[in-house]
Amino acid sequence: MRWFWIDRFTEFVRGEHAVAVKCVSLSEDFLHDHFPGVGVFPNSLVVEGMAQTGGLLAGQYYDFKERVVLAKVSKAQFYCSAEPGQTLVYRAVLDQIDPTGAITTCTAHVQDRLQCEAQIFFAHIDRDTAHRPLFTPHEFATTVRSLRIFEVGRTPEGEPLTTPDHFVEAERAAMAAVGA
């Protein structure tokens, strides 16, 4: 079980912006009770979806070598709700990034309607003082692949993004460990 709150990326331009979609489905258990008879996708999970969109955009900038954590939702304003059967489209623009962190401006749309605007700030965990990786390396590589970043990802010059060597090495090591 992984904490996926986006289904896939549809656009991804290194260091600039990314677009991801989330299909809201009544097959998601929590919508049965939120609220009974009137399923509404929680706005907290909209923020999480935007954070995943922006966080991976920030993470890719340094080849997924920094540990990116959601540090702060500086602002978030909601305009309508999303319901089962609708698709949320998240767009994240990378405003600033450096080795200490990143700021993204994000939006969520339901069809053509603006659902949320937010500013999300990410911190890069200090390599010297952090005690452990946030994810098992090969699982993180698999997660990123699942979201199709390398299928749609481009550099600002239009070149395809390449899979980082450390992802490939982690996946090979994991396969070797199970004798595959």
């Binding site: 500086s74 962190g101 911190a123």
Partner: protein, 127 residues
């Protein structure tokens, strides 16, 4: 080069944005932590906002010298020693360190930084 008033207005806007406070609260004498409620993660956010607003680069540790405050050479028993105070004076000529000299507790350091200190710092970067 921006005037002191223009610097204050931009710093005020950055702080209102980062800390979700009203303009009236961001006075020159207001302390970032005590009066405006800034937490540690907010400082990084503020630095980003100032960099963007003034088109400047703020080396980490220059505005908030965490490296000094966590160095055993400069801090003893939770208090900044003479060597540390001298280092802070050297690194932070923009800040009024009188209150810190009176109360050198590391824990209280951030409480003493004011909006005016921040404006003074920005003025050195845009000069």
């Amino acid at each position: 080069m921006p005037t002191q008033e223009e610097i204050f207005e931009k710093v005020q806007a950055a702080l209102c944005d980062a800390l979700a406070v009203d303009e009236e609260e961001v006075t020159p004498d207001a302390t970032l932590v005590g009066d405006l409620g800034a937490e540690s993660i907010d400082f990084l956010d503020i630095v980003f906002k100032l960099e963007k607003s003034f088109d400047i680069k703020i080396p980490r540790g220059e505005l908030f010298p965490e490296d000094i405050l966590t160095d055993g050479e400069f801090v003893e028993d939770g208090k900044i020693n003479e060597k540390g105070l001298a280092k802070l004076r050297e690194r932070m000529p923009f800040a009024n360190l009188d209150a810190i000299e009176e109360n050198p507790n590391v824990q209280d350091f951030a409480n003493n930084l004011t909006v005016q200190d921040m404006c003074n710092y920005v003025a050195t970067k845009v000069a």
